[in-house]
């Protein structure tokens, strides 16, 4: 079941098309990655979900029903460039935003105290935001985003500016939010965090959706049938053992043995390859090369550019 869906969403600004018939389906309780190069239209889509701007055409659904203005209480948004009043004290500020999202003062205070304890930042309460470092400010921003316990959370580049320890802390929080039933959309260029966290992704480029789906199946779709094999024996014979269905891409040798990258053509499978090799070599490792999201991203965006030209 989808928590959020956009169908055929188009948004035109005066001089360019920001989104062109975009479809997105965000499954409930998933972590959904919104990927794309700068200026692709990610932020426009996020703003449409947040009802900051309205699409020119297309429909938006929240929990199976049309997105209403009151749904905003059920959405939390953390923009890429942090939105905090610099001169305002931390505690007051979190309380202010919490109340704007519809929490009572008492309830907001209770939740703020819990979060401040969790992040061990009680001492910041009376500090002004401008006195905090960038990473500290992001923690505050994160608390503001999740304070009203929204069902849908949207993070725009959440890890930029975080040191590894705090990035880990944030990742864990995001995972535990999902475990508690929240659905998370996050927009990022950081592909390692996509692989670590996301179940689903959508890649947007040039205002259009290029690819969308489960991370595993996209990877499956983009794998190149290349296997990395470690073996011991006479490496010179390798070319002779394999027939035309295989290409040896690399061959490296060391004192402990040899390593080869072999590409399979469509007539072959990994089992046949293994059967061919086993009589001749002692096989020490055999792994399929799965393309990283990074490669897929760059590949797709470059192809898109070529197509455009």
């Amino acid at each position: 079941m989808e928590l959020f869906a956009a169908t055929n969403v188009t948004k035109k600004y005066t001089d360019h098309l920001a989104l062109n018939k975009v479809n997105v389906e965000v499954p409930e309780k998933s972590i959904y990655g919104l990927l794309g190069p700068n200026g692709a239209g990610k932020t426009t889509l996020i703003r449409i979900i947040n009802q900051i701007t309205a699409p020119d055409s297309g429909e938006l659904f929240f929990n199976g029903q049309r997105l209403k203005s009151t749904d905003i209480q059920r959405i939390g948004y953390m923009p890429e460039e942090r939105g905090l009043y610099k001169k305002m004290k931390v505690g007051e500020q979190v309380l202010y935003f919490g109340r704007l999202k519809g929490l009572s003062k008492k309830e907001a205070m209770k939740r703020i105290k819990n979060w401040f304890e969790k992040f061990e930042i009680q001492a910041w309460w009376d500090k002004k935001v401008e006195e905090l470092s960038k990473g500290m400010q992001q923690k505050i921003q994160f608390i503001i985003t999740v304070l009203h316990e929204p069902e849908l959370l949207i993070f725009d580049e959440p890890f930029s500016g975080f040191d590894p320890i705090n990035a880990r802390l944030l990742k864990n929080e995001i995972i535990s939010l999902r475990e508690n039933g929240a659905t998370i959309i996050f927009s990022t260029h950081n592909m390692s965090s996509v692989e670590e966290l996301c179940d689903h992704i959508t890649l947007i480029d040039n205002s259009e959706v290029i690819i969308s789906g489960k991370v595993n199946s996209i990877k499956e779709q983009f794998k190149l049938d290349i296997y990395r094999i470690g073996f011991q024996g006479d490496a010179g014979k390798l070319q002779g053992i394999l027939n035309d269905n295989y290409d040896v891409l690399d061959l490296t040798s060391s004192s402990s043995g040899h390593s080869a990258r072999i590409k399979l053509h469509s007539q072959s499978t990994d089992n046949i390859l293994l059967n061919l090799l086993l009589p001749h070599y002692h096989i020490t490792s055999f792994t399929e090369e799965i393309p990283g999201m990074n490669d897929i991203f760059i590949d797709l965006v470059n192809n898109q550019k070529k197509a455009g030209n």
Binding site: I75, P79, E81, R82, G83, Y85, K86, Y96, G102, I144
Partner: protein, 449 residues
């Protein structure tokens, strides 16, 4: 949503009220006003604390020991020395300057020279010139050999005060005091100008802050842009009102305290009764009580002229024109802020907003001189200048229909500018990194929502 408006207003209000700068301004404001009012007189009295001795070489022999001395200005009449001799050792001499009076002074009054190694102050020159003139006059008069000259002179000495009386339509009349009205009018108009600029600019800066820090993206999802803009305008307006009321209270306390300290002997009830009686009998010339009553007459004049200004009306109209003018300009300032990414981007749009404000200060000078003239009338009706100009005219008395027209137009105009600003604001506030020009603004205005 209604609850959110009060949250926004509350934040805008309290975050500013608690600022150090607000507290300092609140305390300094009345002191500053007092300083502006009292300062020049005080500085003047500070001057010339140094005792200056002027050597007088009087060739005419007419003025020996005749120039009156003051606490800080003394004269020494030298004989048997020349200007040249004095000049030789002038820096070692105890003299501030040398006054040389030629012997042909009666026929050529310019034959007087004041020499010094410094520029003698205007006060000293005036003092000497006055003394010499008086003495010459006295001596010339004495040459006519009139009996009882001093008595006659004292008897003919007269000072005339002109009271201006305004006849009113209902047959009554009221005394007007145009000097004080000018001062009060100027102060009121200027204060409005100052408040509009100060708090209008605060609105603009607040909007830019929310835009450039991206706070707007978080807020706008729970609050409508127009609601946010109005919340900011109202919140900051309340700050302005609070500041003004605190100033009124503080100034009043300060003045009352000052009266008790400096003029405690003047406030006895019996003397006040006399003042009132005298005033109604309108006998302004009192030869019989010369010097003694002069100061009390001055005070009486000040008291009655202050009483002639209706401070209740002044305060009410001030509050109205402050709010009206502020709302009109603050919304324009807000829309400018929304179109800019930083304060430096605002210049090109600031001009059309500040020009009418500055114009109103210029026109105000004319309006307090001629409060019923055509310029004063029209600029006090046109909403963009009316808050300042009308405020300057009010102490002189303004017919009710003019007030109603000007006030009504102001209300209509600020509703219009707020609506206009709201349309620019809702687009501009979410627009980043775009060079905005007037054509772009027009586009934003005409977008359908």
């Amino acid at each position: 949503m209604k609850n959110n408006s009060s949250l926004i207003i509350g934040r805008e209000f309290f975050s500013r009220i608690r600022k150090k700068s607000f507290i300092i301004m609140t305390i300094l404001g009345p002191l500053l006003f007092a300083a502006v009012a009292i300062g020049p007189a005080w500085f003047a009295s500070m001057e010339d604390r140094e005792v200056r001795v002027i050597a007088v070489i009087d060739s005419s022999k007419l003025f020996i020991n005749q120039i009156p001395e003051t606490e800080y200005l003394k004269f020494e009449y030298l004989e048997g020395t020349t200007v040249r001799e004095l000049r030789e050792n002038f820096s070692d001499s105890p003299y501030y300057g040398v006054l040389y009076i030629a012997h042909i002074i009666t026929s050529t009054p310019s034959a007087v020279q004041l020499m010094s190694d410094r520029q003698p102050s205007l006060n000293i020159r005036m003092h000497i010139a006055n003394a010499l003139e008086k003495e010459l006059e006295r001596q010339k008069l004495a040459a006519y050999d009139i009996n009882n000259l001093d008595g006659i002179l004292a008897a003919v000495k007269t000072s005339v005060n002109i009271r201006t009386i305004i006849w009113q339509d209902d047959g009554g009349q009221k005394e007007s005091h145009s000097e004080l009205a000018m001062i009060v009018g100027y102060a009121g108009g200027f204060l409005i100008y100052f408040f509009i600029f100060l708090f209008g600019a605060q609105v603009m800066r607040g909007v830019i802050e929310e835009k450039s820090s991206r706070v707007i993206e978080i807020i706008v999802s729970s609050v409508k842009p127009f609601q946010l803009m109005l919340g900011k305008i109202v919140g900051i307006g309340l700050v302005g009102l609070t500041q003004f009321l605190l100033w009124v209270i503080l100034s009043f306390t300060l003045i009352t305290a000052a009266q008790h300290i400096f003029f405690s002997d003047l406030g006895t009830p019996s003397s006040q009764n006399i003042v009132a009686e005298d005033f109604f009998s309108s006998s302004t010339l009192h030869h019989s009580q010369p010097i003694e009553s002069e100061s009390s007459q001055n005070f009486r004049e000040i008291f009655t002229s202050i009483a002639s200004i209706n401070f209740g009306v002044m305060l009410l109209t001030f509050l109205f024109y402050f709010l009206g003018g502020y709302l009109l300009y603050a919304s324009l300032f807000a829309s400018i802020g929304s179109a800019a990414d930083s304060e430096t981007d605002t210049q090109q749009f600031m001009l059309p907003v500040t020009v009418p404000l500055i114009l109103s200060i210029i026109v105000m000078m004319n309006a307090i001189m001629n409060p019923d003239g055509g310029i004063a009338f029209w600029f006090s009706i046109i909403p963009f200048t009316s808050p300042v100009i009308m405020m300057a005219r009010i102490p002189f008395g303004v017919p009710f229909w003019e007030l109603a027209l000007s006030g009504g137009l102001l209300i209509v105009t600020f509703i219009f500018t707020t609506w206009l600003a709201g349309r620019i604001y809702r687009t501009g506030i979410l627009m980043y990194g775009k060079k905005v020009n007037y054509r772009e603004l027009w586009k934003w205005l005409t977008y359908k929502s």
